[in-house]
Every structure is written in C-alpha cells, then in structure tokens.
Point group: C2
Chain length 337, copies 2
C-alpha cells in the first residue's frame, strides 16, 4: 500500500451525472455539454446563497433521476461547498432522506467526495452514493472578497468563481466509467499570501499529489490520456507543468485544467474559472461525455485553497490540497498501467 | 446492509488518544482526565483562532506520540472544526506530512471522523489514521454570535462552546477498544429558528440516528452500557429521551451527554458545553479511560447543528445531524448484540 494511494478492486462505476451552470458558464465553451443551463443566476431564488443551494440540490436530484433510481436506492450523499459551514450542501441534503457525509476541501471537494465515495462502495459498506459540489460567483465574492456592489477592480492573476453544480452517482454495479484508484492529497503551503493568486497557491499541492501518485503507482504521464486539474487557471497550470518538469515528468501535452476550459478567453475572468463548481461541472458534463463515448484513462484532480478571510487577515499564507482519482472507461480489466 | 449502518468485520482499534482543555474545562469535572490542561486560553498565541489551531495540532501530535508511532506510520488525518473553511484543521494538517481528509459536520465531527476512519481501515485502504477535532469558546463566539467585548447577556437555553481539542489514533492492529459499527446520520430539521437553542435543534437528529441504529441492527438500549451524545446539553438531552420514548425506547438510564458532563452546574454555561471540542475531549479522556479499564459496549454519537450566520440572517431554521459509532472494549468477538 502506497502512502495516500488506494486501489479499488471492484472499481466502482459512475452510472450517472448531472450539471447545472449559470448564464456565463452556459455561454462558455462547455455550455453545450451542461445538462441544465440557467438564464437567471438567482435560479428564481431571493438570494445568491439560496440559488447556490438550489443548484446543488437540483444537480443531486437529477443525477439520481438520471441513474434510473430513486432516493431509496441511495445510501449516502457526500458533499461540501465553499460557503461557511458548507450550508449549501447541508441544506440541500435536508431535502433528501438519506445519510449525509459533509466534507470540506475547498475547490478540491469533487475529487475528495469521489475518493471517499469509491472507498465506501469498494469496501462493501454502501452500494450507491452521490458525490456532489457546487459554487456561485456572487456568494463567493461577497463571502471571500468584496460585495459585488462595490465594483472592485480585479487584478490580472484573479480567477472567476464558477456558478454551477455537478453531481456524480457512483455504484458498485453498472456499465459506466470505473474509478480504479485514488490518491489523497496532503496540505502543502508554498507561502503564497496573495489571495488573488490562487493558481500559484494550489499548483504546488497539485504537483505534490501527482508526483506521489506516479511514484506510488509506478506510473508515468504517458499512461494517461488526460491529466485534468480543477481550477489552477492559466498561470497556475503553467506553474504546475514546470514543477512536474522539475521532478522529471513532462505532463503539458496531456494536462487540461477545468479552470482554463470553462470560459472563452476574455478580459474579466483573467486566469479562468475557479470554485468547487468549476471542476464539478466540467467533469460531470464534458469529461463524462468523453468517457462514455470512447475508451479513456484519465486522472481527475480537483484543487483547493484552504484559506479563510480570517486567516488572511491574520497574516497567514494560503495552504492548498489536491485529491486525485483515476477514471477509466476502457473495457476489460483496469490495472495500474 | 442497513440504510446508513455499516459493520466493521476487522473492528479497527483505538490505540491512543490525547486531549487538550482550556482553563475552564480543566477546572471542570473532566479536568482530571484531560491529558493537557491549559492555564492560558490563548495557549501562548496572539489570537484565539491561532490558539484553537495549536490545540488541535498539539492533540494530533501527542496522540501519535502516545501511540508509540511517528507520522511515517500515519496514513491520513481526518479532521474538521467549526471555523469558516475549517481552517483549524487544515492549518494543523499543514504541519504533518500526511494525507488530509477535511470534514465538516459541525459538532458531530468527532463521530463522523471515527466512522469514516474505521471504513478506511476496515476496508483495507489504510492501516492507521488520526481522527480529531476541536473548538474554542472565544473564536466560536465572535464568528457565530457577538464579539466577547460586547459583553452580551446569554439566554437561559444557551450552551458554552468548549475550549479544547481531542484526537484518536485508529489502527487495524492493537489491543485497544474496537469500533464495530457506525450509523451515518441524516440531516433533520424540526424548524427550530432560535440559534441560542441548539439542544432543541439537535435532539431530533440524534433521535433519528439512534432510532435507525436500533432498527437496522435489531438492538435495544439495554445492549449498551452507555449511550453518549455529544452536546445536546441539559434541555436537549431530556428532549431526546422524550423523543426516543415516543418511539418505544427508554434510554434515560444509560444516556449521558458530554455537554452535561463537561462543566460543573453553574450559572454562566446554562445548558452545559457545546462545540466540536466538547465530545472530542470527553470521549478521548474520560470515556477512553473507562473503555480501557473495564469491558464496556457504548454508543458514541456526536451531534451537530448545521447552521451559519448567513442562513440564520436569511430566516432559515437550523438543520442538524448526528453520526454514531459503537465502541466495544469487551474481550472476544464483537457482535451486534
């Protein structure tokens, strides 16, 4: 057993996904792959927080519907989000009459939930679980930065929090893509104190997890069709490629970043998308489609910055984490290589 | 397989624990059982948040020391806390070079971490993990309620957030008490909107989990020496006993509540202790000692209120959750009854 890498002999299956995206995300390059495109970023609710929660519960609900199950067949919901006390996830879970496992891993929640969900199924504890997360630009801005009404200027290294939610139904039976391995991340802090430069804070954590994954599983970048990070953005992605190159691994030709994929290159988003919803909607729309249409073996590693406004105000740097899962839609056995 | 109850065939062992308590907690009835009693509630730090983090990292560090291992022998730390973005846990984990699994379940975090930790060990994914959580009165007051400097009057149904942290080392090998089962909680909301009455908000969630546990495992209160809830407090505990009685189970003679145990009856704490640290220090000091000194089979179910200041300000009621583990220090096989 490697330090942090776990293997799933029974290879839990992704049997359904669902995604909800805000207006800006729906207009972006991934818009056509989203299951539900919103024209109203309040989703009919009175506040952005309630809209975020509604997106998440809508995604969970419709992922379960799309798996041809009802909630009687769901053993647990594993979810978390960016709001204080993960209230989007908890309040969404209130609507479903199933056990709830609350997680917090900032924007790395999608892969944390998939890793733990796969352990619960492969270990024989549960048959079917839902893994889900989401975020909202407006609720994140006012919680982490400034009220939108202030109209603050954004620095060039900033990213744009994705308005969207994604849910994955994992099951011990089915024909969908398999989760074959997970590598749990460590908390890595390179001393970045600029809270507008999350890419730089998260890239070292992602590189740490990926490096450990390659070492512990004796694999190489060439063993994977895609290496997908969560929301490093343009600058963070190039930093990660450079860090991996320093460690002797060239990943740039197969490295894709959900943050870079979610918006058209434009001025206001600068480095691309971020937020727990960024990798959640990208994995569960575009990549899920890819996985079901052709045989692919990919790494999915969402990336999270573990700061709060209080830690920044108290002069702390920004620690980060990245949990990794291997998803494989090739037929036949799913081995390490 | 029951809905939410999972069984651990290999029965992971509690091989070490460690607790740190604040000055008030050290003077209370449990003070003599605490491993580290603080005379300074800032623990030598400049802020209460940094003190909270230091307590948590100190507890994790010393639990590992006390297990006669070093961090090379630890496969993961599972932790969370009450601060926004669980920064106490994340920043504590930054000091340890091991995978980190971030959780959020409010004051139910201790039993959530033990449940998931036991799954990871029993499933064969990890050999040894640390489960930990903590809280601090002063950081919780200013985040959830009012700055201490305001000197607000506390209503009679209020509880007092425990300043303390506790850590449990779980391992697949050893001679300590066994974790034999877990029942994951559901989010239950009885419509309580008084944020000063957490006992009333949490009691229905605890009753829901305990009822499901009895039903799914075909067990009765008499099968357990203790049924220990986290921080329902005096009023919440009597409410839970009444709710269980309605369902046909009389638990009052064996029901103990960490919130009721942690302070001497006095005016300022009203209903007793609360906070993630409340059940963490009580389980890992007093109950761990009980478990190692005599054969006991007990239920430990920490209880959490899943609100945030934003949800309360937006008029929401308080959903709650309680995860449950069965801990057994009797020799021989650990069966359901």
């Amino acid at each position: 057993m490697g330090r942090g890498t776990v293997y799933f002999k029974s290879a839990p299956r992704i049997i359904a996904t669902y995604t909800v995206g805000g207006p800006k995300e729906s207009e972006g390059p991934l818009g056509k792959y989203l299951h539900q495109r919103l024209s109203d970023d309040k989703f009919g609710e009175k506040t952005f927080e309630k809209a975020e929660r509604k997106m998440l519960s809508y995604a969970i609900d419709h992922a379960v519907l799309s798996s041809a199950r009802n909630f009687d067949g769901i053993d647990a919901v594993l979810s978390g989000d960016l709001l204080n006390q993960i209230v989007s996830a908890s309040f969404a879970a209130r609507e479903f009459d199933v056990p709830f496992i609350g997680l917090y891993s900032a924007c790395s929640t999608m892969s944390e939930s998939l890793s733990l969900g796969a352990c619960l199924i492969d270990g024989g504890y549960m048959d079917t679980v839902v893994c889900a997360t989401g975020s909202h630009f407006a609720s994140a801005e006012r919680q982490y930065r400034f009220p939108l009404e202030l109209g603050c200027t954004r620095p060039p290294c900033a990213q744009w929090t994705v308005t969207g939610a994604g849910a994955t139904v994992l099951s011990k039976e089915g024909n969908g893509p398999k989760i074959t391995m997970a590598t749990f991340g460590r908390v890595v802090d390179f001393g970045v104190t600029d809270v507008n430069n999350m890419g730089a804070a998260m890239a070292p954590a992602a590189a740490d997890t990926l490096y450990r994954h390659f070492r512990e599983t004796d694999s190489r970048p060439e063993d994977y069709d895609y290496i997908v990070t969560g929301d490093l953005g343009a600058y963070g992605s190039s930093l990660m490629d450079a860090l991996m190159k320093d460690k002797g691994y060239s990943i740039s030709s197969r490295h894709m970043d959900c943050g870079k994929m979610v918006y058209h290159p434009a001025e206001t988003e600068f480095q691309g998308g971020s937020g727990a919803g960024c990798s959640a909607i990208t994995l569960n729309s575009y990549f899920y489609r890819e996985l079901t249409q052709k045989p692919i073996k990919m790494i999915f590693m969402a990336t999270g910055a573990l700061l709060s406004t209080t830690t920044s105000q108290q002069g702390e740097s920004v620690p980060a984490i990245s949990h990794l899962v291997v998803i494989d839609s090739r037929r036949g056995e799913a081995k390490c290589r």
